[in-house]
């Protein structure tokens, strides 16, 4: 019995039916001593509880990193990570950075020349020299 290939009926598209957030984990590092972590410490105390409660699908870890600048590192389901140094930032500036990490896809940053891209096949098909009426020379 010959094995038949399965036809691809549909391709998975994030957001059509279900939306899976690409960011799975965010690490927050701070320092108890350094002045550059003052904003980060304030963010963890004041804004993080609400942000974490609003995003239950993201795992948050908070850990000290003594004598280092504060960092927020986003981990994505494609295996990549995106670290952002948030030294000397105010809590609301750090909140913006965390929103950026949340919304990022985890892909490398690329220059977008064509704003619209489709994964649908062309309805005209691929041109072939062996099909059709040919060309009269």
């Amino acid at each position: 019995m010959a094995v038949k290939a399965l036809h691809a009926v549909s391709q998975g598209r994030n957001g059509v039916g279900a939306f899976i957030l690409q960011c799975k984990k965010i690490d927050l590092h701070y320092c108890d001593w350094a002045g550059s972590s003052r904003g980060m410490n304030g963010f963890i105390k004041s804004l993080l509880p609400k942000f974490a409660a609003a995003h239950p699908q993201i795992e948050f870890t908070v850990s000290p990193r003594p004598t280092k600048h504060p960092v927020a590192i986003g981990h994505y389901i494609n295996g990549r990570s995106k670290p952002i140094c948030v030294r000397n930032m105010e809590p609301y500036e750090i909140l913006k950075k965390l929103e950026l990490l949340r919304d990022a896809s985890g892909e490398k940053l690329k220059k977008v020349t064509k704003p619209v891209r489709s994964i649908n096949q062309s309805v005209r098909g691929i041109w072939s020299p062996y099909h059709g009426n040919g060309m009269s020379l």
């Binding site: 105390k45 509880p49 795992e59 948050f60 000290p64 990193r65």
Partner: protein
């Protein structure tokens, strides 16, 4: 061309080199006049000052009691041929010589400075931390300040007169605290703090003052007298007396210091919460209450905060405040910020690469493999980098 800086003050006579004789004389006379007028002014200023002139102050200086001047003069060792001690052995080198005289260690010895130099703080050496004891202390301070005020709404010289005896005393015996605290305070018709029994008990002030005097007398008896430390025999005798007196004082229940936490808890049930709503607006009254709280508990309320305190409850909240957390983790733990959030993990220390391996259960395998190969589990075991790296990079 050479530039000379502009002179702000009067030019001195020595600088005026190429001037005619009569001008020079005038200049010198002017300078002399100025200096004499300056001297008169400084004398007047000195007379206006409350402190003594320097030379008089040095003469009037009386050294504190027990202060010893450093030993002066030379000490000469006895000549070796005149030493009669049979155990004497002459030193073979410089290290074997005995040190004679000198001021080595003299300045560091506290016995040479007497009692006058020892600093005595206003409040207790250690702050009271127990919240129940602190609440009792605040209530007691309010009651005592009210007694000192004597039913007068605005404070006068009376408060300052009784401040030393009544407000400046320490905790005293436990009965004193109980007596004071049993006096009920409540919110008056205009919202101010008042005694619950109107008019306030006439014997209350007398009772409290008597107890303060009793406690002060007991303390004076327990303290050693100053002139008795001349000989060792007297010191030993005094120590024995002190021990006996301390035992007697303990037997009589006249122990000094803050009350126990259990006693404070029991007293708080009697005190209630009504007094916390009362307003305190008089600045002098607040000042004396704050001073009394400092004497009892060691907590200093800054002036800026004292101005903002308008109720007894706010005053209590200012004193009974948990100590500030030193680390962010402690603060998160105290406030329980992420207690209800299962997606947040907080680590008390740095998460190391080994911790990360342990979290996924890989560290055990890594350690076994490293041990099997004879490699160091942690660190580099003083093994340098690969020598080939130097060859490739050309680093020296």
């Amino acid at each position: 061309m050479r530039h000379l800086p502009r002179l702000r003050g009067a030019v001195s006579a020595s600088l005026c080199c190429s001037s005619p004789t009569h001008i020079r004389t005038t200049a010198v006379a002017a300078v002399a006049t100025t200096s004499s007028s300056t001297k008169t002014q400084s004398l007047q200023r000195r007379n206006l000052s409350t402190s003594l002139p320097r030379c008089d102050a040095v003469e009037a200086y009386a050294p504190p009691q027990g202060l010893k001047p450093p030993p002066q003069g030379w000490k000469t060792a006895v000549r070796p041929d005149k030493i009669t001690d049979p155990a004497y052995e002459p030193a073979q080198d410089g290290l074997g010589l005995e040190e004679v005289g000198g001021l080595d260690g003299w300045w560091e010895n506290p016995a040479n400075y007497g009692t006058g130099r020892q600093w005595v703080g206003y409040g207790p050496a250690e702050k009271v931390i127990d919240p129940a004891v602190l609440e009792v202390a605040v209530y007691r301070a309010l009651v005592e300040a009210m007694i000192a005020r004597g039913g007068v709404k605005t404070l006068t010289a009376r408060m300052f007169a009784v401040s030393d005896s009544l407000l400046g005393s320490e905790w005293g015996p436990e009965t004193l605290t109980t007596t004071t605290v049993q006096t009920k305070l409540c919110v008056g018709s205009n919202g101010a703090l008042e005694f619950k029994s109107t008019p306030p008990e006439p014997q209350l002030e007398q009772k409290v003052t008597e107890e303060v005097d009793t406690a002060a007398t007991a303390k004076q008896e327990a303290e050693p007298t100053e002139g008795a430390n001349e000989t060792e025999v007297l010191e030993e005798a005094r120590e024995e007396v002190e021990v006996k007196e301390a035992v007697e004082v303990q037997e009589e229940g006249l122990t000094e210091g803050p009350i126990s936490s259990e006693t404070a808890q029991a007293l708080l049930k009697e005190i209630g919460h009504e007094w916390k709503k009362a307003t305190i607006k008089d600045y002098v009254f607040k000042y004396f209450v704050a001073k009394r709280i400092q004497k009892l508990t060691g907590h200093i309320i800054p002036d800026g905060k004292l101005v903002a305190i308008n109720t007894a409850g706010t005053l209590l909240r200012e004193v009974v405040r948990p100590p500030k957390a030193k680390k962010l983790v402690e603060e998160i733990e105290n406030k329980q910020l992420f207690q209800s959030l299962p997606n947040v993990r907080v680590f008390p220390r740095r998460v190391t690469p080994i911790d990360k391996e342990k979290m996924v259960g890989r560290w055990k395998v890594i350690r076994e493999e490293l041990e099997r190969r004879g490699l160091p589990v942690i660190g580099t075991a003083n093994i340098d980098n690969a020598i080939e790296k130097k060859w490739v990079t050309g680093a020296k």
